[in-house]
Each structure stands twice: as structure tokens, then as C-alpha cells.
């Protein structure tokens, strides 16, 4: 692939975020027993935007929000790359809650596996759901499947990656070759 491919434009991004918010309101109601967890680093950006829309649509909701770093639970520590942790901020017990984990791109599934383990450090949730902006569904290395998906990318190439722009004013998602 030579030309970068725009997977999600700004307009489509806004639609997806609104759809996510509406889906969550439909399924979780007033969020009395729910918590949204943004996965560090970039899942946090998406989670905050969804949270804003939920608050707009349903100002009286009781959705708890936290941010989770999975560095200490990775399965590739000491295998080349050096990892530096980001902060986990979960100021509530996850015991018995329905958790919505939010990330930007689901690829091999290893980060999600580590995040599930990390989340269990904060209690035993009743249920964990996974919400992702982009699902590269043919690149999975673990049996992990998302509950809510923005777009699916069917590329099987290992020479491509998904890039999400997270500036304040513009959010776009591109499929790029690894040389770019």
C-alpha cells in the first residue's frame, strides 16, 4: 500500500462516538452499576470523548470513570522494548461492577489481556465489555473479541499500521504503511 487510507474522517468519528454513547445508554441505562475505564495511553482520549457525549445526552447519569495502565501485566516485559508505566487512576472498587473498557485500536489482543489482569487488581467486576474505535480483526493472537466496534479493518498485511490523530480540534484515523 503506497497511499495512506483515511479510515475514519472527523464527521465519521463524531458519529461513532455518538453511536457508542447511545449504545451504552441503551444497554447500561443510568449506569448505576457501571464504570468506564479508558486504557492508557490512547484509549483514555476516546473514553473522555464518549463520556462527554453521554453527559450531554444524560446529564444525571452516575457513570464512574477511571484510567488504567497495564504495563506491569504485559507478557513481553524484558523481551526487548523498555516500557514505562502511565498512571492508573481508579478511585473506586470494581467489585461487582459492569466495566466498559475503552481502547483506540484492537490488534493482537495482548494489551487487552494485560488490561483485564490489571483491572482485576481493583476488584472482581461482574462483567467486562470492550469498546474499540478500530478492530483489526484478522491480526488477533489471543481469543479476544470486542463488544462495541467503530470500524473493522480487514487488512492482513503486517506492513501496515493504524494511526489515530488525537488533536484537540481534529480526530481522524489513518491506515498507513509502516514506512510512513
Amino acid at each position: 500500500m503506497s497511499q495512506p487510507k483515511l479510515l475514519i474522517s472527523q464527521a465519521k468519528f463524531d458519529l461513532i462516538v455518538k453511536r457508542f454513547a447511545l449504545q451504552l445508554i441503551e444497554i447500561h441505562g443510568d449506569f448505576a452499576n457501571s464504570a468506564m475505564i479508558g486504557l492508557q495511553p490512547r484509549g483514555v482520549n476516546l473514553a473522555k470523548r464518549i463520556l462527554d457525549v453521554i453527559t450531554e445526552l444524560q446529564p444525571e447519569n452516575s457513570l464512574r470513570y477511571g484510567e488504567l495502565d497495564h504495563t506491569f501485566f504485559r507478557d513481553d516485559i524484558g523481551r526487548g522494548e523498555i516500557f514505562m508505566p502511565k498512571r492508573s487512576t481508579i478511585n473506586f472498587s470494581t467489585e461487582g461492577l459492569q466495566i466498559i473498557m475503552v481502547d483506540d485500536v484492537l490488534y493482537t489482543g495482548r494489551s487487552v489481556r494485560a488490561s483485564i489482569d490489571a483491572l482485576m487488581s481493583f476488584g472482581r467486576p461482574k462483567q467486562i465489555e470492550l469498546m474499540v474505535l478500530v478492530d483489526r480483526r484478522f491480526k488477533r493472537e489471543l481469543p479476544i473479541s470486542p463488544n462495541y466496534v467503530g470500524v473493522e479493518v480487514d487488512s492482513r498485511s503486517t506492513g501496515e499500521h493504524v494511526k489515530v490523530d488525537w488533536s484537540e480540534t481534529l480526530q481522524q484515523v489513518w491506515l498507513l504503511s509502516n514506512k510512513e
Binding site: F72, I77, G78, I82, M84, P85, T89, M120, S121
Partner: protein, 309 residues
């Protein structure tokens, strides 16, 4: 995150940069929040084995390192010289190499000889964390002390810290001086002239022999124990006299027009260098130091350990 920790061993604070210490602190912040949660364990170092080699007595440091290692999921072996072949005349390198041949990745060592860890690092392949080498350095103690000051005040830079007591025999004092200065603090040492190295001003610290002057100057007082086990001659007439001149008491603190934060690396000799009402008082962060010790040691072990596997 500022930068990574590009060192193989932690032999001392000397040689580190401020950014390395910030990296350790930021990682320790994460571990501290983990330790305050319901599940205190991570599998981060599950593939590595750590040997704790203690050639000298220790309670806090040893338990703290062991807890840190266990909470990182590492396999550990413990060794103390009193029950080992060291008593039969084995050399340090032989002892350590024998242990390493059993596939140990990292060594946490306390030794009575200054420089023992530096010496060992030249001859063995494993990573070494200095848990105190004679009168030389005790880097993780200095890191947890500075981390505790940062936690109390928000920042170490600009703070005035006095280290009181047996500076001459103290590895904690030396590591603290290096660490606090790197982070931008002002350091003063206070004690009888016989217990302060005569050229210590070359390290950029100020010196006083009057406790009240030191207390008036400082934001934080880090009180050290008199290390009788390292003193081969008498440096002061009696413990009673030392205590009357340099013992930190509530009366002395009440005479000040401000509150100062009290620290002590332990073990405390109550009634000698510090009175019980000060050690247990509201301005003491002695137990927070111990608590922070586990998080800081987890950070050091994690940052070093992930380089190696």
C-alpha cells in the same frame, strides 16, 4: 514520563542523573497506588530470579526488598552470611558466582565493606542493586527518603534538609546528600565535629555543630542513628552527652516558630538521637518512609529487571 533508566546496576546515587530519579519516582507512584489497592501483586518480573545476599544484619531493608520482589512476581532466594559458607572462608566472588550458577538474574546485596557492590559488578554478569555497602552508599534508602519528601511537600527542589547525627559512618547520609542535591534541595549536616568528615563541605553541604541552628534553618530533619558497630574508637564522651546535645526532643521543636518534618531511616534508638514523642509525633513521616520503601524498591527492580530477561 521523562526518560528510561539506562543503567545496568544500582550501585549508588553518585552517577545517576536527576531525570533517572524522576523516572524511578514516577514508576514508584504507580506501584504505590497498586499497593494501596485490594490486590498488591503484579506478574511484571515473573520470569526472573533475585538473590538477596545480606552479609550484614538488616530488618527493614531486607523485608522491604523481599516484599517488593514478591509483589513483582519474582522468584527469590535469601542468603545471610551468618548461616552460610562465608563462615568457612569462601570469598565474596566465589559465593556469588556459585549462587549465580543456579541461574539467578539479579543480586540485591548488603555488605559491610564499602565498594563491595562496585567490586562485584566488575566480575559477575548479574545485575546488582546495592542495599548498603559499609559506610559508602545506600541508594534505595536515599531514593525513598527523597520520595517521601516529595510526597509531603510536592517537590524536593528548594527544600532545606538537615541530616543530624553520625555522618562519618553513615551510608544513608552520603546517598541522601547526592540524591537531594541532584533534585535541587539544600543540604546541611549537623553533629559533633568528631562525627562529621572534615572535608564534607566539598560535597556542597553546609555544616553546623549546633542542633538548634540546624533546626531553625531546615524544613526537614533527617535524624540518623549512632552507628556504634562501625566505630572502632570513641567519638564522643557518652551516649548521654550526645543525647543531651543532639537528641531531637519535643522541647527543642516547641522552641521553634515553625513546624519541621521529621525523618529517620531506622533503626531508631529511642531516647538517644530522637525522643519517642517526636518519633511518634504528628510531624514524623518515619512510617511513611517505610511504606514508600516498598514502592520505590519495586520501581528500581522493575526498571532494571525488564532490561535483562
Amino acid at each position: 514520563m521523562t526518560t528510561q533508566l539506562p543503567i545496568k546496576h544500582l550501585l549508588g546515587i553518585k552517577g545517576l542523573e536527576a531525570s533517572h530519579i524522576q523516572t524511578i519516582f514516577e514508576t514508584a507512584d504507580n506501584f504505590k497506588s497498586l499497593l494501596n489497592g485490594p490486590v498488591k501483586k503484579t506478574p511484571a518480573l515473573r520470569d526472573i530470579t533475585i538473590a538477596n545476599l545480606f552479609f550484614e544484619n538488616s530488618t527493614r531493608t531486607r523485608v522491604s526488598f523481599e516484599l517488593a520482589e514478591k509483589r513483582l512476581g519474582a522468584d527469590i532466594v535469601n542468603f545471610s552470611s551468618s548461616s552460610s559458607s562465608v563462615k568457612k572462608g569462601e570469598t565474596l566472588i566465589d559465593t556469588v558466582n556459585n549462587i549465580l550458577s543456579m541461574k539467578v538474574d539479579m543480586v540485591v546485596m548488603r555488605h559491610p565493606a564499602p565498594g563491595a557492590c562496585v567490586f562485584l559488578s566488575k566480575y559477575i554478569d548479574a545485575q546488582i542493586v546495592n542495599a548498603g555497602d559499609g559506610t559508602h552508599e545506600h541508594p534505595t534508602q536515599a531514593l525513598l527518603d527523597a520520595f517521601s519528601i516529595r510526597e509531603k511537600f510536592g517537590d524536593v527542589a528548594g527544600k532545606k534538609i538537615v541530616i543530624i547525627g553520625d555522618i562519618l559512618h553513615s551510608r544513608v547520609a552520603l546517598s541522601n546528600i547526592y540524591c537531594l542535591q541532584l533534585l535541587g534541595a539544600e543540604v546541611m549536616v549537623c553533629g559533633p565535629a568528631t562525627l562529621i568528615p572534615k572535608n564534607i563541605h566539598h560535597l556542597g553541604v553546609s555544616v553546623t555543630h549546633t542542633l538548634q541552628d540546624a533546626l531553625k534553618w531546615c524544613d526537614v530533619a533527617n535524624v540518623l542513628r549512632i552507628q556504634l558497630e562501625r566505630q572502632d574508637e570513641r567519638h564522643f564522651p557518652s551516649l548521654k552527652e550526645y543525647s543531651s546535645l543532639y537528641g531531637l526532643t519535643l522541647e527543642r521543636l516547641k522552641g521553634l516558630d515553625k513546624e519541621i518534618c521529621i525523618m529517620h531511616p531506622g533503626p531508631i534508638n529511642r531516647g538517644v538521637e530522637i525522643s519517642s514523642d517526636v518519633a511518634d509525633g504528628e510531624h514524623s513521616i518515619i512510617l511513611q518512609q517505610v511504606e514508600n520503601g516498598v514502592a520505590v524498591r519495586m520501581a528500581v527492580l522493575f526498571l532494571l529487571g525488564q532490561q535483562r530477561l
